[in-house]
């Protein structure tokens, strides 16, 4: 009887254990990031450049596409109902800055840089390089996870700016192709843009970067089972990252909106 219950509950138990392990890894990473010595400078720079090189192009296409289609065209439809398509600028503050820029950045960074990190660390794990490092007295968390964690956090935060710029460009494109004037777009955009929205967007995006880095490093470092193991690790890393990012996004946006009523007023 107990074995039956064990078998039924095993997946849930494993999932909880994994979440706990990721929390422990987060704690270890933060502690070893701030405690001297700091041997991870070079690795940090190479990871930073690596992520920027890999992501700039997919992110460019993705942000323009999402904000032109999803936000631009559909929002013009929605606003036409009220006869107020000039309010598109105000909507783009909500759409591009608050929502689409952070989560398209997170999706692309997770899919591009996160998967590459998992593949890289997973390959090292199954070639037993990580064990070799530990034998040599080199701490893999300090030398491999911390630089990736910091680099992804900063890259994701900075790419948010990039995504906002190209997201707004998508809005401009949608305005132009719908035959509307650009003047009202910029006017409502600039009167509605608030500092809280911008900060919220940056903070959210930086925390997305932290989630991506921890999940992807954890999955890479625990890859097992030969050739298929690395692929499986990448697969589950990206699935877990997506779910985690979206759940976090929901809680964060809800808290931001509920605690800052002034950003909800369209001016």
């Amino acid at each position: 009887m107990s074995s039956f219950a064990d078998r039924r509950l095993a997946p849930a138990k494993n999932a909880l254990e994994e979440v706990g392990d990721m929390m422990i890894l987060t704690g270890k990473t933060v502690v070893s990031a701030v405690r001297p010595p700091f041997p991870y400078g070079g690795e940090f720079i190479s990871q930073f450049l690596f992520a920027v090189r890999l992501c700039w192009f997919p992110l460019l296409i993705s942000t323009v596409a999402v904000s032109y289609g999803a936000a631009g065209i559909q929002a013009i439809n929605f606003l036409n109902i009220f006869g107020a398509p000039d309010r598109l600028g105000g909507f783009f503050v909500l759409a591009a800055i608050r929502e689409f820029a952070p989560f398209v950045t997170a999706i692309v960074l997770a899919g591009v840089a996160g998967t590459a990190i998992t593949a890289d660390l997973g390959a090292r794990k199954i070639r037993e390089e990580l064990d070799a490092l530990q034998v040599l007295g080199v701490d893999p968390v300090k030398n491999l996870v911390v630089p990736r964690f910091l680099a992804l956090m900063i890259v994701t935060g900075l790419f948010d700016v990039y995504a906002v710029i190209f997201g707004v460009f998508g809005g401009v494109l949608a305005t132009t192709t719908s035959g509307l004037e650009l003047g009202p777009f910029w006017a409502t955009f600039l009167t509605n843009a608030s500092v809280i929205d911008l900060w919220g967007s940056f903070v959210k995006c930086t925390l997305f970067g932290a989630i991506i880095a921890i999940v992807c490093c954890y999955k890479g470092m625990t890859a097992s089972g030969g050739a298929e193991g690395v692929g499986r690790a990448v697969n589950s890393a990206v699935v877990i990252t997506f779910i985690a990012v979206f759940s976090f996004n929901y809680v964060f946006t809800q808290t931001l909106l509920a605690t800052n009523p002034e950003i909800q007023v369209i001016r």
């Binding site: 190479s46 690596f50 090189r53 890999l54 192009f57 997919p58 296409i61 993705s62 596409a65 999402v66 289609g69 999803a70 065209i73 559909q74 013009i76 439809n77 929605f78 606003l79 036409n80 109902i81 009220f82 309010r87 105000g90 909507f91 909500l94 608050r98 929502e99 398209v104 999706i107 899919g111 591009v112 998967t115 590459a116 593949a119 890289d120 390959a123 199954i126 070639r127 030969g226 050739a227 298929e228 193991g229 690395v230 692929g231 499986r232 990448v234 697969n235 990206v238 699935v239 997506f242 779910i243 979206f246 759940s247 996004n249 929901y250 946006t253 909106l257 909800q264 007023v265 369209i266």
Partner: protein, 269 residues
């Protein structure tokens, strides 16, 4: 470093270089389905369909559910901001059905099914199992790729329609139960007014094009993986990049084609 990151233009150049290869591969797989050769392996098709449902359905619905909640709260706050709080239902109807459910579906498809296929086929390739299939006289593209594509065509429309349901349910929860912006009846009145069966069909078409591309891209990268266990990981990561961009482009083109010229919103416009 295990990934091709030597230069800034590595990603776009890589795509241009392999674009022809990918299209050729896609043609080959589609041909196997069109001339019905794939039905020799209908048992394998059904097995793949079962695997798809058992392993991927739940995560897809979970992601769509979370995205639906997001649509709900943004809809409630935005329609309050334009001074028409009753229109939260309008916003979540447009947001869910037309945009975010297809996107969330595409993202999760790419993450779960696309990379899963690369991992599976890639490890078969590097352990020479695909060559073994060829030696035994089985056409490996038919047996491995065409069956997967057919299985996804069989199951994904149904998974997708349930996913739309999950998104709608989540938006309802967010708007009516959590925020309490409008009454249940008022929500549903506008919610159903702003969508019709063609909208659902277009949304489904968008998602199915995404699904087809994702399965084929996954098959391409897995089938052509090389370079040992590291190569499988790298191929998995690369397939994800291409898939994400394709999902976004298909989403944009779909919106432009289906709703760009005709908003199909019953008031004004």
């Amino acid at each position: 470093m295990a990934t091709p990151s030597d230069s800034w233009t590595a990603v776009p150049r890589d795509w241009f270089a392999s674009f022809g290869e990918i299209v050729k591969f896609l043609g080959k797989v589609l041909l196997q389905i069109i001339d019905l050769r794939v039905f020799k392996y209908s048992g394998e098709v059904l097995r793949q369909a079962g695997l798809l449902i058992m392993s991927s359905a739940l995560v897809i619905w979970v992601l769509v559910f979370v995205v639906g909640l997001q649509c709900g709260i943004e809809g409630a706050y935005f329609s309050r901001a334009v001074g028409a709080p009753a229109n939260a239902g309008t916003f979540s109807a447009l947001c869910n059905l037309r945009e975010l459910v297809p996107y969330a579906f595409g993202w999760m498809m790419a993450a779960k099914i696309g990379t899963g296929i690369v991992a599976e086929l890639g490890s078969m390739r590097i352990s020479d199992e695909i060559d073994a299939l060829e030696v035994m006289g089985i056409n490996s593209i038919t047996f491995l790729c065409a069956t997967k594509l057919l299985a996804s065509w069989l199951t994904l429309p149904f998974l997708y329609i349930i996913a739309i349901g999950a998104g709608f349910f989540a938006s309802y929860l967010a708007v009516v139960e959590q925020i309490g912006e409008v009454s249940s009846g008022g929500y549903f009145l506008l919610f159903w007014m702003f969508q019709n069966p063609p909208d659902m069909f277009f949304s489904l078409a968008k998602a199915m094009v995404m699904a087809t591309v994702i399965v084929l891209v996954g098959c391409y990268y897995g089938y052509n993986a090389s370079g040992g266990p590291v190569g499988v990981g790298t191929a998995t990561a690369k397939s994800m990049v291409l898939n994400l961009v394709m999902v976004h482009l298909i989403g944009m083109l779909g919106t432009q084609v289906f709703w760009g010229g005709n908003a199909r919103a019953p008031i004004g416009g």
